[in-house]
Amino acid sequence: MEWQRTPEDSVYSEVVVKTLRPVDIAVGCFLALLGLFIIYEASLIRMGVARSLSPRTIPYALGFLISFCGIGLAVKSWRFRGEDPKINWPNREGVGIILVQLICLACYITLMNPLGLPLSTFLYVTFSIWCLKLSKRGMTMAIVIGLFFGIISYYVFIQLLGLSFPAGFLFE
């Protein structure tokens, strides 16, 4: 389920590489705190009618489990002295592209109700493809594909399937 990843076809020539051990220690500590927070939240659950399994029991148990495993992960990683596996984080450019894509998606979700599905789909698909391709020819292609899927989203999902997506001011 992965694309072929070879050094020569990587989009980003420099890949920031960090090792797993320090990250695991940090994640372990975070999870230990998260577990404690879950235990605190579980203590706020109203008990209600007495029954064999209290609504607090499972959240308490899971909070303790997450906390315990988080501490275990941090301690195990801290004590580890062998060859540390590397994590292939994207470099600054890669992070930028991922962030832009996430912002595009966030805008898509935000605009879906006020603009409607067809128009927000057109805007999302167009900008998202253009941001990934970033060329003059890419913009034309992005508009064509965006337009196609904007129309599809209206005629197939709203008209044909009758699903309750917001149609937006263009189609109301």
Partner: protein, 502 residues
């Protein structure tokens, strides 16, 4: 309640109605497409489409969903052979000899044997499903809440222990999945749990948002870091050597069906595991093991057969016990529950038309897939070169449509986005995703059966060890956790989960 030809015949009558044939064909087509395209797997494919199938009757919807799952197993081999890119994780071993054959100008025979082996193993696996599932369902009739709780606990522990060397990360992943599904109102008392003061969380978090985020969105995020290679191999003609190749691989197909099917009955043993086992077994029993890795046709037939047999075998515990063995099966279980169908022994008793129609449609679907994959192989090979800058946004578009149509609220799509980011970091940091997905889907059933068990025993947890069947399941759960701890202690290696398939 067991197997009867009459019920199977009725199933074929239902499955052969033009509507069900159409939806099976649509499912096979989408499944092959999902298999061919890297960046989207069967679990996310089914999860995205599931809410949109509410316009269909339950039988047609599940026929289509099942066809997507086993269709993806067919499609994954195309890119593996032609461009050395596995469409699915289960197609990784196919790359080894398949791509070598393609480089030798024998891509056509490799694709043909892959389709034939998939068909052979898928159909034999279906015989197993047809006869095993009702037998197991008969056995499961005596199961009460303690047995169900112990069975689900065993499934979760098996999945965690099979996550490679990442026992702690597997347990954390499972616990987080359970926590996510607890958010909202307690189904029995109505008490609000873990809503963190947010009224939007009162209705809970839908598992489809979680699955689409974890698989589809995180996969898109990972894939925007790379770009696709282009097709350089010619397909070549497959017909001249077809019968000779099939005859040569007959033994291989039988062996890989056995391996794939029987291992596939176990929770956590996904096609990505059995394909490696089948490939390794074939290499061991071969008279010419030196040919493996250099374009041995058996090296293509073995993994491709095994993944289809495994995908079919997964339906046995799903239909008999209501137990999902893999993320895709968990999504299908969610789909069945969405339609008010409770998988398990009563499914065969209360909805025989439904369950036999789905089984019968799988026989038909296998024939459809053979027809779709043999002559149209050139078309599938061309589809896999769609560049990711087009494919990525389209996967996100369909993911948004799928999650929004669960309850038609934007909140579910935000949840999908958040779990996409979580899934991205989980993959980067070696956390297994499968325990989280399975826990999210089965959490409610586990909680209900735990509550009922404790009610029966008046609060004593010993009930799980005093009833023989649940004691066996609890024993196996403890053994699998013990095995995981033993591996951890012995290896002293850092926590990294093995590569997962959805």
């Amino acid at each position: 309640m067991g197997f009867s030809f009459d019920l199977l015949f009725q199933g074929f009558v239902t499955a052969l109605s033009w509507q069900n044939l159409l939806w099976a064909l649509v499912g096979c087509f989408i499944g092959t497409l999902v298999g061919v395209l890297p960046g989207i797997g069967p679990a996310s494919g089914i999860a995205i489409l599931l809410p949109m199938t509410t316009v269909l009757p339950p039988t047609s919807a599940i026929i289509m969903m099942a066809a997507i799952y086993y269709g993806a197993m067919y499609g994954g081999s195309t890119t593996a052979i032609v461009v050395n890119i596995p469409g699915e994780a289960s197609s990784v071993p196919t790359c080894i000899d398949g791509y070598e054959m393609a480089k030798q100008g024998r891509a056509g025979p490799a694709l043909a044997i892959s389709a034939v082996s998939s068909f052979f193993a898928g159909t034999l696996g279906l015989f197993g499903l047809t006869f095993f599932a009702p037998l197991l369902a008969d056995f499961a009739v005596v199961f009460g809440p303690p047995e169900y709780f112990a069975l689900m606990l065993m499934a979760l522990t098996l999945i965690i222990s099979l996550s490679g060397r990442a026992l702690l990360k597997g347990v954390i992943s499972m616990a987080l999945g359970l926590i996510v599904s607890l958010i909202g109102q307690d189904p029995l008392t109505g008490a609000t749990r873990l809503t963190f003061g947010s009224p939007k969380l009162l209705a809970g978090i839908d598992f489809i948002s979680v699955i689409v985020g974890l698989f589809a969105i995180s996969e898109v995020m990972i894939n925007v870091e790379s770009k696709i290679a282009s097709i350089t191999q010619k397909i070549g003609r497959w017909l001249p050597t077809f019968w000779a190749d099939t005859k040569q691989c007959l033994g291989t197909m039988l062996r890989c069906t056995g391996v794939g099917f029987f291992l596939g009955l176990l929770p956590g043993v996904t096609p990505s595991v059995t394909t490696f086992v089948a490939y390794d077994l074939e290499k061991r029993v071969s008279k010419h093991p030196e040919r493996f890795g250099h374009g041995a046709i058996e090296g293509v037939a073995a993994p491709e057969g095994a993944n289809n047999a495994t995908s079919t075998a997964g339906f046995v515990p799903l239909f008999s016990f209501g137990l999902p063995t893999a993320p895709s099966m968990a999504v299908l279980l969610g789909g069945l529950m969405m339609y008010g169908l409770q998988p398990g022994p009563m499914l065969f008793k209360q909805n025989p038309q439904f369950v036999w129609a789905v089984i019968a449609s799988m026989y038909i679907g296998n024939v459809m897939l053979l027809v779709l994959n043999l002559p149209l192989v050139g078309m599938w090979a061309k589809i896999c070169v769609i560049p990711f800058y087009i494919l990525g946004p389209l996967i996100v578009f369909f993911s948004v449509l799928g999650t929004y149509s669960i309850r038609f609220i934007a909140f579910d799509v935000w949840v999908m986005l958040i779990f996409g980011v979580i899934g991205y970091f989980m993959r980067k940091l070696g956390f297994p995703v499968a325990p989280m997905v399975l826990a999210t889907v089965i959490a409610q059933m586990m909680e209900t059966s735990l509550g009922q068990s404790l009610l029966i025993s008046q609060g004593s947890p010993l009930i799980f060890f005093t009833r023989p069947i649940s004691a066996v399941f609890m024993g196996l759960a403890i053994l699998s956790i013990g095995r995981g701890i033993w591996i951890q202690v012995r290896s002293k290696a850092p926590e990294v989960a093995i590569e997962e398939s959805d």
